[in-house]
């Protein structure tokens, strides 16, 4: 019995062993099925996943294209420097980390402030610079302690530098960190998004912005094998970056410098154009700013200083601000009168010192008037009464139509953005501009002061220079441009930005010659004679004084008026008068009479451009001081 039980026991045990064997085989079959699924059925998928793990495409930032002036002087350049960067998402306590870093690397309060500003503007998984331009010693000190700072890295980056600082800053513009809005815009275009994968910076203003596509270059890529920690193990393949194209400007930086210095610390704008091509020779807006401040992200202190200054240095006065042209409008009015046949050159008016329209008296600048005035004299002595009556004779529609043809009231199309249209007054404009019906109506009395460049007239200095250049080129209008050539970075091929004749304004040569003669006499005997005393070349010019505030019933006295309420001083000119190489317009804000403060600037610019004469360090006279 006992024996049998043992036998039974063994046989039952063996059955259990058999069951266990079946169980083991089932379980292992399950594993085999899983292996076949992963390694055979889904092989392609997992192979791709493994490759994706292993291979990382690292963008190589292209060298940004250089900008040089017409003489080859470098205006923007790149340099490589080390930056200390933090990826905020990987750092637990930012402030503590920065404090610890400060022991190794010099970190100023302004660096902290700028970092805070960047932090507010960006996403936390981006790597943000804390300190730029580390010294070799600082780099070495950090590297030795690197293990203590996860999420903090030293990166070699290319930086943009503007070696001339504040000189020509408005036309060059600057680059800055790509912001959210720009990022979205870039991401809309897939190709562009790929090309910006390695870029933190983008052109924000001036040429840097408008020629962004040329300057940026093509991002290269390096295929890198990376380990699980994201560290590069070895390079597999490399497509080098193609540097951005070089821009050669029409601008002569020396001329620009002389023009800027001629302003001294006065505010204003100057635009000089080559009449035969539309090439811009100088584009001045004063005051200027240092574009280098923006490259690494501007710190709040400097930003506030620029933004809150009453002088508004960031304002591009040459192309954005619109001013009444004052008497510089008169030659164009005269040309309009001749072209439309509304008044002949020989017609004479009598100027008693005022012009009556209805029951309103429009005063002439000169008390007692200029006596008998024909068209030539009206320009040379800048007679207001002549133009009051001319405007009245022509009527607003004819004036608006003619001035519109010369480009007044529309953008010139210069190759940087930020241009405004100004205001070419007309009944149609007024209707659009105002909401109230009584304001929408054009009154004939409003036409009168249009004739002397006042009233609703409001143009950019760019437009004024553009119209002057068109006049100098006998009515052939070229699109103004700052860039002369784009040099391909790879091939070295020069692509010329061809002078683009926009149109030829239908003018008679004899009319143009007449205006030219009158303008020459302005600088010989007229309002501009003092500034141009003894010039060895002929200059056609016209002074202008634009009223900022109307002073009812008072005699305008420059000394008595608050500086900011003084008139703007203007001057337009082209020279040599019979073979114009340069046409320009200049405005000095609150400069008083054009002949006093604007004309001497033009003289210095022309002397340099035509004679190569560099001014003798004499400080330009201060506004209102004689």
């Amino acid at each position: 019995m006992e024996f049998k039980t043992a036998e039974e026991e063994i046989s039952r045990f063996r059955k259990r062993v058999l069951a266990a064997t079946v169980f083991v085989l089932i379980c292992f079959s399950l594993l085999i099925a899983r292996f076949v699924w992963l390694q055979v059925v889904r092989y392609d998928y997992y192979r791709t996943r493994a490759e994706d793990n292993r291979i990382s495409l690292v963008p190589i930032e292209p060298n940004r294209g250089l900008i040089v002036d017409s003489q080859g002087v470098v205006l923007t350049r790149n340099y490589s420097a080390y930056t200390l960067e933090i990826t905020p998402a990987r750092v637990a306590n930012l402030d503590a980390t920065i404090d610890e870093l400060a022991a190794l690397v010099d970190i100023q309060p302004k660096d902290r402030k700028r970092f805070k500003k960047l932090l507010d503007e960006s996403k936390t998984f981006e790597s943000l610079p804390l300190r730029n331009r580390l010294t070799d010693e600082e780099v070495a000190r950090f590297i030795a302690q690197r293990y203590r700072f996860p999420g903090v890295e030293i990166k070699a980056r290319l930086f943009r530098q503007y070696p001339n600082g504040e000189l020509a800053s408005h036309l060059l513009g600057y680059i800055g960190r790509i912001n959210d809005r720009e990022k979205k815009e870039i991401e809309e275009d897939e190709e562009r998004a790929a090309n910006y994968r390695g870029s933190d910076h983008i052109g924000k203003a001036g040429l840097e912005q408008s020629y962004e596509e040329e300057l940026h270059g093509i991002t290269g890529f390096e295929q890198v094998e990376v380990d699980a920690g994201g560290r590069a193990v070895r390079s597999l393949a490399r497509t080098p970056a193609v540097p951005g194209n070089k821009l050669i400007l029409t601008v002569d930086i020396q001329l620009q410098k002389i023009a800027e210095e001629a302003f001294g610390n006065r505010r204003g704008a100057l635009v000089a154009i080559e009449p035969g091509s539309g090439g811009v020779l100088a584009l001045v807006s004063k005051p200027t700013y240092d574009p280098n401040l923006f490259v690494d992200g501007i710190d709040p202190q400097n930003w506030d200083a620029l933004n809150n200054s009453p002088d508004h240095p960031l304002l591009h006065r040459a192309i954005y601000s619109a001013y009444p042209p004052g008497s510089t409008f008169k030659p164009f009015m005269a040309l309009g009168a001749l072209t439309t046949g509304k008044r002949s050159a020989t017609a004479v008016i009598s100027d008693p010192g005022y012009f009556w329209f209805g029951n309103h008296q429009f005063r002439d600048d000169k008390k007692g008037g200029h006596g008998l005035v024909d068209m030539h004299k009206s320009i040379v002595v800048s007679c207001d009464t002549y133009y009051y009556s001319l405007a009245n004779d022509m009527g607003i529609d004819l004036i608006a139509n003619f001035m519109g043809q010369l480009g007044f009231g529309s953008r010139t199309g210069i190759d940087i953005s930020g241009e405004s249209t100004g205001v070419l007054p007309s009944p149609a404009w007024k209707k659009k501009r105002f909401k109230k019906p009584e304001m929408q109506k054009w009154y004939a009395g409003e036409t009168i002061s249009i004739g002397i460049g006042q009233g609703y007239n409001s143009y950019t200095i760019m437009q004024l220079a553009h119209a002057t250049a068109t006049l100098a080129a006998n009515g052939v209008m070229y699109k103004p441009h700052l860039v002369k050539y784009v040099v391909d970075a790879r091939t070295g091929d020069k692509r010329t930005i061809e002078p683009q004749p926009v149109k030829t304004v239908p003018l008679k040569q004899e009319h143009i010659d007449f205006i030219r003669k009158a303008m020459i006499d302005v600088t010989k005997y007229g309002t501009g004679a003092r500034a141009f005393a003894g010039v060895p070349y002929e200059v056609a010019g016209k002074t202008g004084t634009a009223q900022v505030f109307s002073l009812k019933g008072e005699q305008y006295r420059a000394h008595a008026v608050d500086e900011r309420r003084r008139d703007h001083a203007l001057f337009i000119a082209f020279a040599p008068a019979h073979d114009p190489k340069i046409a320009l317009a200049v405005l000095v804000e609150n400069g008083g009479f054009g002949a006093e403060s604007a004309a001497p600037i033009v003289r210095q610019v022309l002397d340099y451009y035509l004679l190569g004469k560099v001014p003798q360090g004499a400080a330009p006279e201060q506004p209102g001081e004689e």
Partner: protein
């Protein structure tokens, strides 16, 4: 003289099992040379110690082993209690006991001690077996398993629990009791899989489980839900296995391995290294070797002469299976990630010594059957 020495050494060794073990250990060195070449010296040292332990265990007859069952079990449980009271914490778990001279992990002791104890118990009850004996066995099993799970060390708890359950199964627990447990288990797993969205919600707490254990199960169900966190292990090891394909990328050429995408690639996840570098062929070869080891163990069990030997041999064989299945299952993403090494391959001296001890006991049982018969 030399011949006699050889006979003396070879006498307790089961040639077939030894050949398999030697093959697997050599394979382990081969794999470790790729996964973690720096550790190869330690690996060789562990291998030698393991073989020595195996030989010693093989030399001890099962009858003498029986006497160790109760003291070993009692000592193990006492040490587990000591760990719970005075143990060292590491990574949120209390598993080690610091004895000044050395730190020990008492749960490891139970991997052998538990089957030994239960085999001894059923040996005592030979011929008198009643239902309440199974109940007593379950209590004996539950105490250390509960203590280990509480540490928490899910991997070891599973190994100890399965070791004990195998004894109970081989001792003849009625199918009527086994079947409902298996069915309940299948239903439970099915329920978890189908209701994962609800039960894996972060605010839901699972009774009797730590949060990290719940996460392991949840990430197994949906590893993509947390690709850089808790799902990282499973995703990366699946990629390693899948990208290995049929023939593998070649020894030392696995990108997932060499570029450190596989976590714990020399210990618990070493199977991913094998899969990636040696492919499906390598996996099948390893599986066959394991089946042969388990099969040999079960044959030894079937032929064993006493209840104690039989049960012990059966349980040890199936424990070996548990190691292999749980490890490969978790690495290939069909089981949750628990700390169970790949038997004889994973780097780590303790596990290797424990496994060799078990294999040595199997050899001893095989040897003593023939010894008794002759």
């Amino acid at each position: 003289m030399l011949g006699r020495l050889y006979k003396r050494i070879a006498a307790p060794i089961d040639p077939f099992l030894f050949a398999l073990v030697a093959l697997l250990l050599a394979f382990a060195c081969f794999v470790q040379l790729s996964a973690s070449p720096d550790r190869i010296q330690a690996q060789l040292m562990n291998t030698l110690i393991g073989l020595l332990v195996m030989w010693i265990a093989a030399s001890i007859p099962p009858q003498r082993l029986q006497h160790l069952a109760v003291p070993l079990y009692v000592l193990g449980v006492l040490l587990l209690i000591a760990v719970a009271l005075f143990g060292d914490s590491a990574k949120g778990a209390k598993r080690w006991l610091n004895l000044k001279v050395m730190r020990i992990q008492p749960s490891e002791l139970l991997k052998i001690g538990m089957p030994l104890m239960l085999a001894w118990y059923f040996q005592q009850r030979e011929g008198l077996l009643k239902a309440r004996d199974f109940f007593a066995a379950i209590v004996l099993l539950a105490v250390p398993v509960g203590l280990i799970a509480k540490q928490p060390d899910l991997g070891t708890a599973i190994l100890v629990l399965s070791g004990g359950l195998f004894i109970i199964f081989f001792a003849g627990l009625s199918w009527k009791l086994i079947a409902p447990v298996i069915i309940a288990g299948i239903i439970g797993v099915a329920a978890i899989v189908s209701a994962q969205d609800q039960i894996c919600a972060p605010e839901v707490r699972w009774p009797g489980m730590r949060d990290y254990q719940k996460h392991r199960i949840c990430t197994l169900l949906a590893p993509a839900s947390d690709p850089l966190g808790k799902g990282f292990h499973t995703i990366q090891s699946s990629i390693a296995i899948g990208s290995g394909g049929s023939f593998g990328k070649g020894w030392r050429n696995g990108t997932q391995t060499q570029l450190e995408f596989i976590p714990e690639r020399h210990t618990d996840f070493v199977f991913a290294v094998i899969s990636e570098e040696l492919g499906l062929i390598g996996n099948l070869g390893l599986l066959i070797a394991y089946i042969l080891v388990i099969g040999r163990g079960l044959i030894i069990a079937a032929n064993a002469t006493s209840v104690f030997s039989r049960l012990l041999a059966g349980a040890l064989s199936l424990s070996f299976f548990t190691y292999a299945f749980v490890n490969m299952g978790m690495v290939s993403g069909i089981l949750p990630v628990v700390g169970v090494p790949l038997p004889l391959i994973s780097y780590g001296g303790t596990a290797l010594v424990t496994l060799c001890l078990g294999l040595g006991i199997l050899m001893s049982i095989a040897h003593n059957r023939t010894f008794l018969q002759s």
